[in-house]
Symmetry: C2
Subunit: 380 residues, 2 copies
């Protein structure tokens, strides 16, 4: 038995999602650009899915640009804006995912000035300097909606107000938030938003950049002119269909999702605190499924490996960068000491997680911590 507490890395695909995809692998395998019956069926399936994705975040279907995932969506926005606008200031945060941070950094080469909003100790961006920063000509901004590690939810609609007053195009990486908390495009007040299917019960390899159609955007991937000319390439029909289904399910169960995951996360949090864990971002609004903590003295990687042996899948830092063992820049930005930050473990539950999983997790953590504490005692 393996209990999966790593839903911020990727989610299990829903059975209904997979079933909706299968016909487009097996029988309706046409290229949506083909003019025969199989092409038409593929096109109709894409149109339906676009409506489903649009419905979840309350936009028009034509605002949904299908891309290969969240990383591409973020690159498409940042590089697309960088190629369209004359270089000026770009505003971001120190807590962005590498697929925002790295493209933003590369804009320096073409003359952009990068300004990152500082981070408060609780994991929220510190927007107090924003009005001063905006006195410099600013082309665009990108601040994440929910942090992949801490789960802290940023005050995007407040930021959007300042950006709009200053005619700054504003994007949010909403990959971790959509499907976990209510998110609407208009509610956030942004001009662009990235979504990833596999973070909300859909398949890997598909996502969307949702845009205000007035956005000036140079396509990242050129070719046959698919996706309103903004993203070329044969449409990944089964994945698009699965993404649509996942969004429909996410729409339906948004309230029940929070009701299920919150108590499980809260129980785990209380349990781990009783075992000596330091919780990050606790005083800020957070995703209901996410818990980020350190057991001081026990390296995060060691904890992940020990808990894997106990039958639990958790992460140290974000899964996307755990291929390279780095201390979390998010925690450092929050002012966490490096020795504590290097012990960070992320637990992200899902709505198939149970109270029983949580109880077994507590017992495992207690057992593991006992071992580590014995080792620490021996070494000192």
């Amino acid at each position: 038995m393996f209990s999966y507490f790593d839903h911020n890395a990727t989610t299990p695909i829903g059975e209904k999602v997979l079933q909706s995809m299968l016909p487009y692998f097996k029988d309706e395998y046409g290229n949506a650009s083909s003019r025969h019956a199989l092409g038409t069926k593929a096109r109709e399936a894409i149109n339906r899915a676009r409506e489903q994705v649009a419905h979840l975040v309350e936009v028009q279907a034509s605002q949904v640009i299908f891309v290969s995932g969240g990383t591409e969506a973020n690159n498409a926005f940042i590089k697309g804006m960088g190629a369209c606008l004359p270089p000026s200031q770009v505003i971001s945060s120190s807590m962005e995912h590498p697929c925002v941070k790295n493209p933003v950094q590369k804009l320096r080469r073409s003359g952009w000035k990068i300004t990152n909003l500082p981070t408060l100790g609780n994991g929220l961006v510190d927007a107090s300097s924003l009005d001063v920063l905006l006195s410099n000509k600013t082309g665009f901004a990108s601040v994440m909606l929910a942090n992949n590690e801490t789960g802290v939810i940023q005050p995007i609609s407040n930021l959007a107000e300042s950006f709009r007053q200053n005619n700054v195009w504003f994007h949010t990486d909403a990959v971790q938030a959509v499907g976990k908390i209510p998110v609407t495009f208009a509610g956030l007040g942004v001009h662009a938003m990235s979504i990833s299917a596999h973070k909300l019960g859909g398949p890997k390899g598909i996502g969307a950049l949702v845009i205000d159609k007035r956005l000036p955007l140079e396509p990242l991937i050129d070719g046959g002119g698919h996706e309103f000319g903004l993203r070329s390439g044969t449409e990944n029909v089964p994945a698009i269909v699965g993404f649509g289904t996942a969004c429909e399910i996410a729409s339906e169960k948004l309230n029940s999702y929070q009701t299920v995951v919150s108590p499980i996360r809260d129980k785990i949090e209380a349990d781990l605190e009783s075992l000596g864990a330091v919780i990050f971002g606790k005083s800020a609004p957070r995703l209901p499924n996410t818990l980020y903590c350190s057991f001081p003295g026990v390296h995060g990687e060691s904890m992940v490996i020990a808990l894997n042996e106990e039958g639990f899948g958790v992460a140290s830092g974000s899964a996307c960068s755990s291929a390279s063992v780095n201390v979390s820049p998010t925690l450092l930005a929050m002012g966490v000491e490096e020795s504590i930050a290097s012990c960070a473990v992320r637990i992200s539950v899902g709505d198939e997680s149970t109270a029983d999983d949580a109880e077994r997790f507590y017992l495992s953590c207690r057992r593991v911590m006992k071992k580590f504490n014995n080792l620490i005692a021996l070494a000192s």
Copy 2:
């Protein structure tokens, strides 16, 4: 009953391919970057698939960079080189797919000079001027291996020799060729090659840029540093696994594929010629499954629609651009008159196509042509 003769647009996915993918949707759904058991299984699956893709084109696994498809692979090469090299000349052809042609055209903005090799009447590139062209400093070149419309196979290894002598990085869009004819990276002599899974029995949404590791390449999509730092984003594990399986099957059946599809294509070709069709590229080496022709006086789109009603899926021009009805630039480059080019129809069979399909196709074409000829006679 619907007979699918549009395999150059996309292929049906093999049953064995789909079966190989399903476990990675259902049970082994981990993020390959995760350090727990589910992550490890995903990573191992990607490693196996990378070996399978590498084996098909005879390269080391580390030369295979997974991307979202052929369009991204071509963009990644062209834009990646354009960002790395100082602007000079780029050499391409007039017959490239829009996902090569458009990114190449955009290089003009950053000071590149675009030179397209002329096209011979049979659909081959005319390389007679290449040595003269190469007297101008040339950064890189991209010429397709097999044309998506005519199926004409270009003399890539000959071109590669000239490019190598002049220290020009050389890429080929091999999307239409791999799986249909024997293709090896070393045999072609290129430095980079694009492959798409869904053109060879694999799933949509996955492909590869196969590279000489010395190639200087700025990543198109930045982030967590996946794919040797050249293509970030959570790996699309099921699609990668399916791509691997499709490549393994393609390796095994390469000879039988040609033995099956050639006679069917040849029969259809002879039948259509007997009905008055003009065949394009007939005197050049071609893909064994592809037939490109015009029935003068009958618009290609009309033919596609009429044949769809008869239960056949064919294309007019390339499926990728048939969303916009344009006369094929490839045919115009070959010197075909616009009135003839606008009548172009592409028939691309697959190894599940049968002699019986071909015979019924002949009868349908005869019926359709009779109707059109009656209409033409009435109108004149």
